[in-house]
């Protein structure tokens, strides 16, 4: 199936690139959405069965693939709106569509790959397609953003490859064999410790560029700032999850060996610094998208803490990952409408959104409650699990620092969102009589995503609980 998926999606990308009529593109995009869902369902049915030699859908891969498929559908849907409101050349439009579809299919394959090096190839492809998406607006700043993203990610991908080679060295002396994740995981105890440490450091550092954690988080911020909002939604959810998955995999191997404690400290330090960076920079952001991007850094930090705690913390962390993806994507989609109404991306120019687009403003308001984990947000549950695991493991200082930093973030986030919603500038509102009207229907999928956050948080479906339990079983 995965072979068929790859071939078909390549065909779709090529034909979008060749035929540039909108009608053909739209029908191809819809057929891609169907293909994506077919892949998801097929892989769920064939859980833990090796396919195409290098691919094996495991529990966490399936969870992430499901999240991606939901967000891919909505992102492609919002791309229709986004493209419809811009006057781009047919060439630019076809490049946008093909890059987005390439990104989605590369992320899917990266989730399912069972071989360290194969996953690496698909991570590389996500970098290339993402940088094309960032450059979509063809302005100086988007060029700057895509250059920085491409360069930092290329360096990070090279670091990952060095890490994979070290992993090869770790296996060499003990004759463990190929670099299949399942193989490495089963033989983790026999790996050479020194090289496993080196591999962990390099692979972790490399994947932080995708995940948005401390050493290399900067690239992702600029990328989410400059990309079109449907693409930013994918960047700050599914693409970050690629990084999280990479870290999860290498940590699951390290956790079975003597370096467990050491790797745990690495994760906690990086996560804590990420939280700190997010809290500090959110105080001085000037545009909404950058604020959302820093908020993603914060949530990724929380998830990493959960990952390092294991047990209930890891359960919370995976739940948090799902819920954060849905919420953040919803906020980014809504930002697309905000930009069309306010016509500026800067926080200083914003205000009075509640009067201009009530249905969208409600999304922002609810999204704010969801993302800051204020009940009835489902993220309250997942964060509760993470905090509880910190408490149970005796990391009180970590718990206190995290809570203080989160308070800062909630305060700043709230200030900015409420300014956008309710702030009234008399001079501005007079000159902007001809408002852009946003249809209520545009907000409906966002309500759907937010409702899913509440529903999944409080009443996770049995299938999901089984999958998450299977994913955390690896950590003993």
């Amino acid at each position: 199936m995965i072979g068929i998926y790859l071939i078909l999606s390549l065909l779709i990308i090529l034909s979008i690139f060749t035929f540039r009529q909108r009608k053909i593109i739209y029908s191809l995009v819809i057929s891609f959405i169907i293909l994506q869902w077919a892949l998801t369902i097929y892989e769920y049915i064939n859980l833990n069965i090796i396919q195409f030699y290098y691919f094996m859908p495991d529990a966490i891969g399936i969870i992430l693939l499901f999240v991606l498929s939901v967000l891919a559908s909505t992102s492609l849907l919002y791309s229709f709106i986004y493209i419809g409101h811009r006057q781009d050349t047919p060439q630019a439009e076809s490049i946008y569509w093909s890059a987005l579809i390439l990104l989605i299919s590369a992320i899917s394959c990266a989730y399912l790959a069972n071989h360290a090096a194969i996953a690496w190839i698909f991570v590389e492809i996500t970098t290339l397609s993402a940088s094309v998406l960032i450059y979509h607006r063809r302005t100086e700043r988007s060029l700057e953003g895509s250059w920085k993203y491409l360069f930092i990610c290329s360096v990070s991908v090279a670091l990952i490859f060095i890490g994979i080679l070290f992993l090869g060295l770790a296996t060499q002396q003990s004759k463990v064999g190929d670099l299949f994740y399942s193989n490495l995981f089963n033989n983790a105890g026999r790996l050479d410790e020194f090289w496993l440490k080196a591999a962990f450091l390099f692979i972790f550092t490399g994947y932080t560029a995708k995940a948005g954690l401390v050493p290399m988080y900067t690239a992702g911020i600029d990328a989410k700032d400059k990309a079109p909002s449907p693409a930013s939604a994918i960047f700050s959810s599914a693409l970050m999850n690629v990084g999280f998955l990479g870290i999860y995999r290498i940590y699951s191997i390290a956790a079975k060996t003597n370096i467990h404690q050491w790797s745990k400290i690495v994760l906690i330090v990086s996560a804590l610094l990420s939280l700190f960076i997010a809290a500090a920079y959110m105080l001085r952001v000037r545009s909404f998208k950058r604020m959302f991007a820093y908020s993603s850094v914060e949530h990724m930090g929380l998830m990493t803490i959960g990952l390092s705690m294991g047990g209930a913390g890891l359960f919370g962390s995976i739940l948090h990952l799902i819920l954060h993806s849905f919420t953040k994507a919803g906020l980014f989609y809504q930002y697309g409408s905000v930009f069309r109404v306010i016509k500026s991306k800067f926080i200083n120019d914003a205000g009075g959104y509640f009067e201009k687009n009530t249905s969208g403003a409600l999304v922002l308001l609810l999204g704010f409650f969801m993302i800051t984990a204020i009940p009835p947000s489902g993220m309250f549950i997942s964060e509760f699990y993470i905090f509880r695991s910190m408490f149970e493991n005796g990391y009180f200082w970590l718990l206190i620092i995290t809570a203080v930093l989160l308070t800062f973030i909630i305060r700043t986030f709230g200030e900015i969102i409420f300014k956008l919603l309710f702030h009234r500038d008399e001079n501005r509102s007079l000159e902007e009589k001809q408002n852009t009207r946003i249809s209520i229907w545009e907000s409906v999928p966002q309500y759907g995503l937010l409702a899913a956050v509440v529903y999944i948080g409080y009443n996770p479906p049995d299938i999901l609980v089984t999958l998450i339990n299977a994913a955390i079983k690896n950590f003993g």
Binding site: I118, E140, E144, W147, K148, A158
Partner: protein, 209 residues
């Protein structure tokens, strides 16, 4: 025989560190591609035709011919100033690279055993760190791309150390990585050259908080 190639390889790094003109830099990179091919060729125990073709493509065709030619084209097209304009003096970068070489050798000799004794491992580490150093110490965007290529060369040598048989798909992936990354980096460098008057990193400072 192989030691000569490796010594020459380190010499090219010193050439890169002191290169005043970009042309010299590119020539050094092309020469590195050639050396990589020689090293691989000598190391190759059995000649598998498919591997040989891939190797030829990877080192000789891309690294020694296509990429240098492409870089040359970029410089010409964007009328980039011929000098490499480092942030620090040539003497300082020569000093730093020498100390990288010394430290790596010293560390490899103190941490005896296993891979540390392996000369390829030492050379690859030197190359990777030199690439990273050149990346942060140069002002032009095009020199960043070049330093990235040097770093990738180091990774290629490292893969020799490991000596595990990577699957075919991975080989293809590496090929894609080297080719596409450099191509895309080049294309964007080209765009930057079109959009900003001077293609320098100092100009790329507008995205910030």
């Amino acid at each position: 025989m192989i030691n000569i190639f490796l010594i020459l390889f380190i010499v090219t790094l010193f050439v890169c560190a002191t290169a005043i003109r970009l042309k010299t830099f590119i020539k050094a990179i092309a020469f590195q591609g050639l050396l990589l091919f020689c090293i691989f060729f000598v190391r190759l125990n059995e000649i598998n035709p498919v591997n040989l073709v891939l190797l030829l493509l990877e080192t000789l065709v891309f690294k020694a011919i296509v990429i240098p030619y492409f870089l040359h084209y970029l410089i010409k097209k964007n009328r980039i100033n011929r000098e490499s304009e480092p942030y620090i003096s040539n003497f300082a970068s020569l000093f730093i690279i020498t100390s990288i070489v010394m430290t790596t050798f010293y560390l490899a000799n103190t941490l005896k055993g296993g891979v540390f004794g392996n000369i390829y491992f030492v050379i690859s580490m030197i190359t990777i760190f030199t690439g990273l150093f050149l990346m942060i110490s140069r002002r032009k965007i095009i020199t960043h791309v070049m330093s990235f290529i040097i770093m990738e060369n180091g990774v290629v040598i490292l893969s020799l150390t490991v000596g595990i048989e990577m699957p075919m798909l991975v080989n293809l992936g590496i090929l894609l990585d080297i080719f596409v990354t450099v191509l895309v980096l080049g294309i964007f460098a080209n765009k930057i050259g079109d959009m900003f008057r001077e293609a320098e990193v100092d100009q790329l400072n507008r995205l910030r908080d």
